[in-house]
């Protein structure tokens, strides 16, 4: 299996690092403007049969992008395999649904509560379980994801398996009205939050928390020897990831009007994880590209109806064989990890 060596990510990073400030600002502004203008794009290549392009932009594309960025903090940055990420999404969505239908709080008031609850559950799940490593953590988080769903199914106060209907939409903001008929304002709302999250993640990654996650991912014990409180760093990564999913959940529920527990099943966690791995684990832009492709493609090839998931799955397998590190892999040097134990020390020269 030949491995494509050309690394677009490194090329991009190089270009960015060499660019003067004005060029960076200009490129960012253009990029952001294009993102906001996407719903007006009317292109037959991008059109999605069966569902309109603007809706697809909000869900699944925008939603997957946001979730993948959040999960990447946990899996990509700090190296913790979380298979129950959907739980935090569900907690955000249920907070919106329950408070929106049972109290007079509006979307903007519920949002911080939903995020707060997702973070709190992140602390509660993370504190005892993050001492586990690798596979054990994956299994426990997977269990947590299922437990949240099953509890929702069995709690009649929050609608049981029928879920909750009649979730209110957000109040108008900046002249945009949030209605069932028009997905554009939701997309813009989601995009705005996604950009905020990207900004936050980039800042964190470049600073001490990011350094600590880097160290922990590469060697947990040695990270402790550097004076890093690894337990606390990991819980933080978990909680930040949970917060992002919480935001996603609240926005999602406010758009879709009704939710049922079965929407929050294991498949969602796995799909979001696939976005992260497919795009290039640990690299923010790779993860975004991965999420866009994985969310969009099944919608685009909907005309194939039944075999479409099969085609999609095969494309994934072929892709991962061609680029095992993802579309836009993180800097190559990370992968030297395993090799070097076998390098034989031959006649080292003098130090001086």
């Amino acid at each position: 299996m030949s491995k494509v060596t050309f690394n677009l990510r490194d090329k991009g990073a190089q270009f960015w690092d060499k660019s003067p400030r004005w060029r960076r600002v200009l490129l960012s502004v253009i990029f952001i403007a294009i993102c906001y203008a996407l719903p007006f794009l009317n292109n037959p290549i991008l059109n999605t049969p069966g569902s309109d392009f603007q809706s697809v932009l909000f869900y699944p594309v925008g939603m997957y992008v946001m979730m993948a960025i959040g999960l990447n903090i946990v899996v990509g940055k700090s190296g913790l395999l979380d298979l129950g990420y959907v739980a935090f999404f569900a907690i955000g969505a249920y907070t919106m649904a329950v408070l929106g239908t049972k109290t007079s709080l509006n979307f903007w008031e519920i949002l911080p509560i939903g995020v707060g609850l997702a973070m709190l559950s992140g602390v509660l799940l993370g504190t005892p379980t993050l001492r586990l490593r690798g596979d054990y953590l994956a299994i426990v988080t997977m269990g947590f994801g299922e437990i949240v769903r099953i509890v929702a199914v069995n709690t009649s106060a929050i609608g049981g398996s029928r879920g909750i209907a009649g979730i209110p939409t957000p109040p108008p903001a900046f002249k945009a009205k949030f209605t069932i008929l028009d997905p554009k304002p939701y997309y813009w709302l989601l995009l705005t939050f996604t950009l905020l999250i990207i900004w936050m993640v980039r800042r964190l990654a470049a600073r001490r928390p990011g350094r600590a996650w880097d160290a922990i991912r590469q060697d947990d014990d040695v990270a402790q020897l550097m004076g890093i409180n690894t337990r606390r760093s990991k819980v933080w990564a978990f909680v930040l990831g949970a917060a992002v999913a919480g935001v996603g959940g609240v926005i999602y529920a406010s758009q879709i009007l009704s939710i049922v527990p079965d929407q929050f099943n294991l498949n969602v966690s796995i799909l979001i994880l696939a976005c992260v791995v497919f795009g290039g684990i640990g690299n923010l832009w790779g993860v975004i590209v991965g999420a866009v492709i994985l969310a969009f493609t099944p919608e685009r090839i909907r005309f194939l109806s039944q075999p479409r998931i099969l085609v999609f799955g095969m494309a994934l397998v072929i892709m991962m064989n061609l680029r095992p590190d993802g579309m836009l892999p993180k800097k190559k040097r990370e992968h030297l990890e395993a090799d070097w134990d076998h390098v034989e020390e031959s006649g080292e020269g003098e130090i001086k």
């Binding site: 001490r208 350094r211 880097d214 060697d219 020897l225 550097m226 004076g227 006649g347 001086k352």
Partner: protein
């Protein structure tokens, strides 16, 4: 700064790896712990730095029992370790690895330049490779980086786990020469080694560890001449 280990017991599950070891490292000394593969040397160091929990016994650092303290807090007190197998962060550059060594220091900004220069003075090779990824260094360079990184934390006691492991003889000699230099600059050192010859030549005092027990304790120079030690650890009399 005196490090004293009193009647230390450490378990891996039900297996007792350290069976009541007592070791003293006085300020300014190089003390070495020699022993064969599996004797429990790494376990000792990991327990001292807090990566393994103690079953019973005390670890006194400057008279205070730190045996229950989490590993990352022990670094603040002045205990730094260059771990077995070097533990370089492969995806970080040489400079980034060294910076990690200062992660916990409150005054890391103001100290950084001065300490980097100290490390480059000890290991000029690291300066040449400053932007090279840690994972691409040779074994000897990685060992230098591991020791340099530990020094960035301004340790009072430096713990070294088999710095000679997997290195060519010339590089081993170099590393040991620098260990003496670091000690001369005022850092107390606890050195764990299988390479008894080199370790005993450099250390002031030594302990011999066998399957979790200290079987001998003496001045390093005395052990170099001890027939039993020579036979078992220095490969003399084997043929």
């Amino acid at each position: 700064m005196r490090l004293e280990i009193k009647d230390l017991h450490v378990h891996y599950g039900k297996i007792e790896a350290i069976k009541g070891v007592s070791v003293v490292v006085n300020e300014g000394e190089i003390v070495t712990l020699i022993g064969a593969n599996g004797a429990g040397k790494t376990t000792m160091l990991k327990t001292i730095s807090g990566l393994r929990p103690v079953t019973s016994g005390q670890i006194l650092f400057d008279g205070k029992d730190i045996s229950k303290m989490p590993a990352h807090e022990r670094v603040n007190l002045g205990l730094s370790q260059a771990p077995e197998g070097r533990g370089i962060f492969p995806g970080m550059t040489v400079l980034e690895n060294l910076e990690m060594g200062k992660y916990h220091r409150k005054d890391r900004k103001s100290e950084m330049k001065e300490d980097l220069e100290k490390v480059y003075h000890l290991f000029p090779r690291l300066l040449e490779r400053i932007n090279q990824a840690g994972g691409t260094l040779s074994g000897g360079e990685q060992q230098m980086l591991a020791i340099g990184r530990a020094l960035m934390a301004r340790p009072k006691v430096l713990l070294l786990d088999e710095p000679s492991m997997g290195l060519a003889p010339l590089m081993i000699a170099n590393i040991f020469r620098i260990i003496t230099e670091i000690n001369n600059l005022g850092t107390t050192i606890l050195l764990v080694e299988q390479n008894a010859q080199q370790a005993l030549q450099r250390a002031h005092r030594a302990y011999v560890l066998e399957t979790g027990n200290v079987v001998k304790e003496a001045k390093a120079s005395d052990l170099l001449n001890d027939p039993a030690v020579r036979a078992a650890y220095l490969g003399v009399g084997a043929h």
